[in-house]
């Protein structure tokens, strides 16, 4: 397979809006007129604003017509790469297809044109959808109650940790530490620290799994709980989860299960049956709503009975077919977001769950696992697998065996030249030069085969022609970016 030919002609080198017309046109073509500055000679109007605060010259708005502005942004959008363009195996992010049915349902006027300030009796359909979604999530996860309010995964984590804190406080049991395995998502220690806890890292075994004996060593009455992801970030099922949870519960701690990787478990296994006390759902990952570019997300949080009093307010209730908000929950951790959460995301997740049904969700998880294992087996002779046994929904390769002058970053950049979004790199931290691939259930065998072919070719290039990797990408609108300068000296505004 060869990289696609060099494409020119319809790839624009798009300048900034401010640089489109470097010289002011003699006749302004502005799509809109700005009023003359109040302090200028042209203005006759008296003003109550102090004159020092009034401008003397017109603002420097680029002199552009509406079609020019429209084309500028349309062209920029063509530089974007999303799951609608091609394969997006970004490990840990579950970049699955967003079925167009979701969009059709979310566009229904009864969902699209309501306002959160409307009284409950005018939005019964929306409340019913939220109530049913919460019940579906509880059923999928094996939890007793769900709040839809958190706006994203990490927000759900924070809510969960605040509930664990409220639970211990209500029992007069001040605890200060949270245990987190070394394979955790970066958000886990951050959420625990924000909730006021000291984070203690717990090592996983050589098999990449958390062992109950290790957890028991770390557990005492100062530990509020353990936070883990199952399957973990190596794509491995924590097979000792029940014993691990028991070790935590035995000393009075609670278990937080990061639901970020729930895509491997839907309809097959329930975190609630594994001893998990609280979990968040990343609707924007597991339940197919679009989440490129940082949003919008939704991170509902589910709890077992003993944590239910602490759920955020309001909770949506149903009595004799009538839906309402319940604010009267004295032990609640309070309100955690504006209004009731990201409703548009809930509609899409609800549509996905209702369309697939229980059997369909289980099938989706099975296919996600099958796809990841297909990639694992097809690539294991070309890239080193630190944990060679069967994975769940994602698999992690290391840089072991790559020529020393070639890095994981080079490999990822070269994949762009073959037309693929790179996988997650350098995460999880426990794997050297990690390359984390998550294909999701959305991809066909043909797409996976193309990806495999590209990876095999790149592995050959790494040995025979490392320069191709080091100078990649060549077939993107911009080449290798200076990440150090971007992090240290970002230019955040246009300067003349």
């Amino acid at each position: 397979m060869n990289p696609p030919g060099k494409r020119t002609g319809l790839i624009w080198d798009e300048p900034l809006l401010f640089e489109l017309h470097p010289d002011q046109a003699p006749e302004p073509t502005l799509g809109a007129r700005v009023p003359s500055p109040a302090r200028s000679a042209q203005s006759a109007q008296p003003s109550t604003i102090p004159s020092a605060l009034l401008r003397e010259t017109p603002p420097r708005i680029p002199d552009l017509s509406e079609p020019e502005v429209l084309r500028h942004y349309s062209r920029l959008s063509s530089w974007n790469y999303g799951v609608d363009q091609g394969f997006y195996p970004l490990g840990s992010c579950t970049m699955k297809h967003n079925p167009r049915l979701n969009e059709a349902v979310a566009a229904l006027p009864g969902f699209a044109f309501i306002h959160p300030e409307q009284p409950a009796d005018q939005v019964q359909g929306a409340l019913r959808l939220m109530h049913e979604l919460a019940r579906a999530l509880a059923e999928i996860s094996g939890m007793d109650a769900v709040s839809l309010q958190p706006a994203a995964g990490a927000h759900g984590e924070l809510c969960g940790m605040l509930m664990i804190r409220a639970y211990h406080q209500a029992r007069g049991d001040a605890r200060r530490k949270v245990l987190i395995p070394d394979t955790a998502h970066g958000t886990n220690p951050a959420s625990s620290a924000l909730a006021g806890y000291e984070v203690v890292e717990v090592p996983t075994g050589p098999d990449g799994l958390l062992h109950p004996d290790t957890v028991a060593e770390f557990m005492d009455e100062s530990v509020a709980g353990l936070m883990l992801t199952n399957p973990n970030t190596l794509g491995l099922f924590e097979s000792y989860i029940a014993e691990v949870a028991e070790a935590v519960h035995k000393k009075g701690g609670l278990v937080y299960g990061d639901g970020a990787n729930l895509n491997a478990l839907m309809g097959i296994a329930r975190p609630g049956d594994m001893g998990i006390d609280v979990i968040q759902f990343n609707l924007h990952k597991t339940f197919s709503t679009p989440h490129g570019g940082g949003g919008p997300g939704a991170g509902p949080v589910g709890v077992k009975k003993h944590l239910e009093p602490y759920l955020p307010v309001p909770i949506i209730t149903e009595r004799q077919g009538r839906y309402d908000y319940d604010w009267d929950r004295p032990q609640s951790i309070g309100k955690v977001g504006q209004y009731y959460g990201n409703f548009g995301v809930m509609v899409r997740a609800g549509a996905y769950i209702r369309r697939l049904g229980g059997q369909g969700l289980a099938e989706a998880s099975r296919l996600a696992i099958l796809n990841a294992n297909y990639l694992r087996v097809k690539l294991r002779d070309h890239f080193h697998l630190p944990h060679p046994d069967a994975c769940l929904h994602e698999c992690v390769f290391s840089d072991k065996g790559l020529p020393s002058e070639v890095t994981t970053l080079d490999l990822a950049k070269r994949l762009m030249d073959y037309g693929f979004h790179p996988p997650t790199i350098y995460f999880p931290l426990v794997v050297h030069g990690a390359l984390m691939v998550e294909p999701t259930e959305s991809e066909s065998k043909e797409t996976l085969d193309q990806f495999i072919e590209a990876m095999v070719q790149i592995s050959r290039e790494a040995r025979e022609n490392p320069d191709l990797l080091q100078s990649a990408p060549q077939r993107t609108p911009v080449g290798r970016l200076d990440e150090v300068r971007a992090a240290r000296k970002p230019i955040l505004r246009w300067q003349p």
Binding site: G186, Y426, F427, L429, H432, E483, V484, A487, R488
Partner: protein
């Protein structure tokens, strides 16, 4: 990779140079190489206390963000403040201009628990396997 013989090393990849009752702490050549280009370093206030094997700061690179752990306990008498503007010094000169903090040690016996250059070299070899 360079591991000078006059330094002591921790399992979390910090080095210590003992100067009387004081200890200068930095990141090893191996650590800076693993992190890649460093973009930001957060160091403690002068006068603060740090405890052995607990985090005293944060290092952020293009690859990852990691805690900095102190190999020994003590009071921070000086921090390498030029790193605020030039964190790349840790990449360029990890044992020289890229030092992190200087401590007045509270328990000099803690030094004995650290590795020497030879032991650290073997430790790094085993870890990168």
């Amino acid at each position: 990779m360079d591991f000078p013989n006059d330094l002591k090393y921790s399992r979390s990849h910090e080095w210590v140079r003992v100067e009387g009752s004081e200890a200068v702490v930095g990141l090893t050549d191996y650590a800076q190489e693993e992190l890649g280009d460093i973009v930001y370093i957060e160091l403690p206030e002068e006068g603060g206390e740090v405890e052995k094997e607990t985090a005293f700061g944060v290092v952020e690179s293009v690859k990852a963000t990691e805690d900095l752990f102190s190999p020994v306990s003590g009071k921070v008498v000086e921090v390498n403040s030029p790193l605020d503007d030039s964190p790349e010094m840790v990449n360029e000169d990890p044992y020289g201009d890229g030092w992190l903090i200087r401590l007045e040690m509270t328990d000099q016996d803690e030094i004995k628990e650290l590795m020497n250059a030879e032991q650290y070299h073997a430790y790094v070899e085993a870890e990168s396997d």
